[in-house]
Chain length 437, copies 2
């Protein structure tokens, strides 16, 4: 999956902290770091966790090879003692967390890293990059799926975001329920279903729209989707049907008033005898546009920009905080920052999703210490992904994605119906803290 | 730079278009594609082009190796004829464009790709991913630099965006005038200056704030920056000065009301005899927060989330359009889509920045055909990056970044003073089209 070390996807200060703590000796204190979001984006009712599988894949490559060490040494980022420590670096601790695809709420401990301070500290930037990006996309995607109901959504935003973010975005979209993606590398790495037919340039390349449609049908068969809005939409639809006949798979609309257009294009297709030809729409859709198209005769949605930019919230505001560490007596001490407007809760957490007798989520229970007795329906949310440095590969690659798709579908089913509303509101279930101390 | 092929950072439909055009024969028509933005983000007065160097670096690796071809073949993305074509794929055309760091406006032809349809078509997604992401970041960064005046800005948003976007964002920020970045991979790949000291976790790791400061100073010297807001800021400053003495390099404030806090922390530092200790602030800054801090005694700004998410505009809305291609007679024909609300202008463009006698930009002139006579001051904006497939490496890697930094600085100097205003407005100079046809 990764063809290069991931170890320099790291903020400079992680390594200077490592250096200073090696110097003070505190680097080796057993520590617990926790990733969580203090809040959801304004008005959002839930978040969708994604990125975990990518973190586990990247963790395998989180090594400092000759090239990385030479860079750190030449540019004097750290001293010789630290370089020596990094030479042998390999994460040997435990990682727990919410399964990928799981729904989360403010303060849900979505990832817990237990190891020495040194080992957990240097992972911070990479862990947060993956969680913040991928969860932002999955959270937006899940709302689009809610808005689309039973109509399939196709991810096609690669060109609107960094080329590697595009791969991760395709993966996150599929986890949240998208049917497929345009991103080929996503297909290659994660076995995602990829789709696509043609753009306007293909029509413009040929001497006429008819010639372009003919070329496409000749090569891809009549089941393809023809893009009918390069010139005049009505003429485009008529030409498409003339060229492909009654078995034409779909027409795609990419501009104009899609609601109105879908209506008369549907009528026109039906009049021409193409009742089975589907209508796909793809112009700057977000969850609100999708909702407004629900009454229109549309068969599928292609979503680009708003998906890969998290529909107004391109990052998930997850943080990664030291919550507990050994003191000199070798006992764990809970720690938390006290600075204004950035509250953290110290201590190693557990998390339980409380469900009522019908299996409906009622509360996110987060606590420190012993897990209280739970009802039969309640779900413990923390799974273990890494055991003494050993990565559970069930959570990685294509199988990890399939597992996450199922996790998200199952988690959504548990949520109260209000979770599917697009209107702004509070988190759909409340979070309750229990602190035994 | 790239350790793996970039060829699958591509939308599925680019390859199905390739297949259908190989079938129709149009694949080999000489073609001109153009990348441009139809608009700037609302209220923005200029955009900053970035991503070009990364495209050129990726172009070298835009090959279809065994693994890529097997994927395309196994998943039936394209047919055997197309696989055969891709086996030997290597871009052999010409690429022109605005230099990286250059300012652009709506319809500026920021990149022009001349080759066969086949070769230019398959590059679309990768080209747009790099331009859209990197230009969004550079454009936001440039406004932050304007707001910061002579005070240095430090990029530290890696954790808020995908780990590879983070590297590209660091690079784009430096191009737009940032002093340095926290991103180590950015330092490694592009020779960017990296900086960093410590986070709250470092303080929490130790048994007291004093112990943590002592550890940091022991390891990094008194010139380091101490983070003083983990517990009580006033006590933090006093402890920092006690531990490091009068030569303490800086204190960092990361929470609370930064304007008010910077004032009294400055007074406190001065009273303690630390007139030379700088104040760095880092809490959720964007260009507006930076502007509001200009009257406060702050020495540098660390910028994270808002930078890497383009300060509200995470993508630059660049498109890549076929504007001209051969007909059967072997003559170039200008082409453009006619669909509603998505106007394109056909034809191979030139671009000139018109400057008055004092070297101030007055107009962006974009035309088709012969370039009109220009005044001595006017600047032709298109440079050639690729000549018959040969990449000019001056525009890549660390030297490319240095060149782009200079280009941006010089371009900004030419702009009217209003370009530096944060208020919403029209593009700072108008774009004029000349069409000789």
């Amino acid at each position: 999956m990764w063809q290069q070390p991931t170890s320099l996807f790291t903020d400079h200060y992680e390594l200077t902290m490592l250096q200073a703590s090696l110097h003070s000796g505190a680097a080796h204190r057993p520590s617990v770091f926790e990733a969580f979001a203090r809040r959801l984006p304004e008005g959002r009712r839930y978040g969708v966790l994604a990125g975990t599988g990518r973190i586990l894949e990247g963790l395998k490559e989180f090594r400092f090879g000759e090239e990385q060490l030479r860079f750190l040494s030449d540019t004097k980022v750290v001293d010789a003692t630290t370089i020596k420590y990094l030479e042998n670096f390999s994460f040997s601790g435990n990682i727990y967390g919410y399964a990928e695809g799981e729904i989360y709420f403010p303060y849900s401990p979505v990832m817990i890293v237990e190891s020495t301070f040194a080992e957990a500290c240097v992972l911070e930037t990479f862990v947060l990059s993956a969680l913040n990006h991928d969860s932002a996309i999955a959270s937006a995607a899940s709302r689009m799926i809610a808005a689309a109901g039973t109509r399939p959504c196709i991810e096609m935003g690669s060109r609107r975001t960094h080329e590697e973010s595009a791969v991760a975005a395709a993966r996150a979209a599929i986890i949240a329920g998208f049917d497929s993606t345009s991103n080929l590398e996503g297909g290659h790495r994660y076995g995602l279903k990829t789709v696509g037919t043609a753009a306007h340039s293909f029509t413009l390349l040929h001497d006429s729209e008819r010639a372009a449609f003919q070329a496409q049908v000749d090569s891809m068969g009549v089941g393809t989707a023809l893009l009918v809005d390069t010139y005049d939409v009505e003429q485009g639809v008529r030409t498409a049907v003339e060229v492909a006949g009654s078995e034409l798979g779909a027409v795609r609309l990419d501009s104009g008033d899609l609601v109105e257009q879908a209506r008369w294009v549907r009528t026109l297709l039906d009049d021409l005898g193409n009742e089975n030809t589907r209508i796909m729409v793809t112009s700057d859709l977000d969850e609100y546009a999708i909702a407004s198209l629900q009454s229109a005769p549309v068969d599928s949605y292609g979503v680009g920009t708003s998906l890969v930019t998290g529909s107004g919230h391109p990052t998930a505001s997850m943080v990664y905080k030291l919550v507990s560490r050994h003191n000199d007596a070798g006992e764990f001490v809970d720690v938390a920052k006290a600075a204004k407007n950035k509250v953290s809760v110290g201590g190693r957490k557990y998390a339980v999703r409380q469900l009522d007798e019908r299996g409906r989520a009622t509360e996110e229970l987060i606590g420190i210490g012993e897990i209280p007795e739970t009802d039969a329906n309640d779900r413990l949310l923390l799974e273990q992904f890494v055991v003494n440095g050993e990565i559970n590969t069930d959570f990685t690659a294509a199988s990890g994605v399939r597992r996450a798709v199922k996790r998200h579908r199952d988690s959504i089913k548990e949520m109260p119906g209000t979770s599917r509303r697009l209107q702004r509101g509070e988190p759909v279930i409340p979070t309750r803290f229990i602190n035994e101390d």
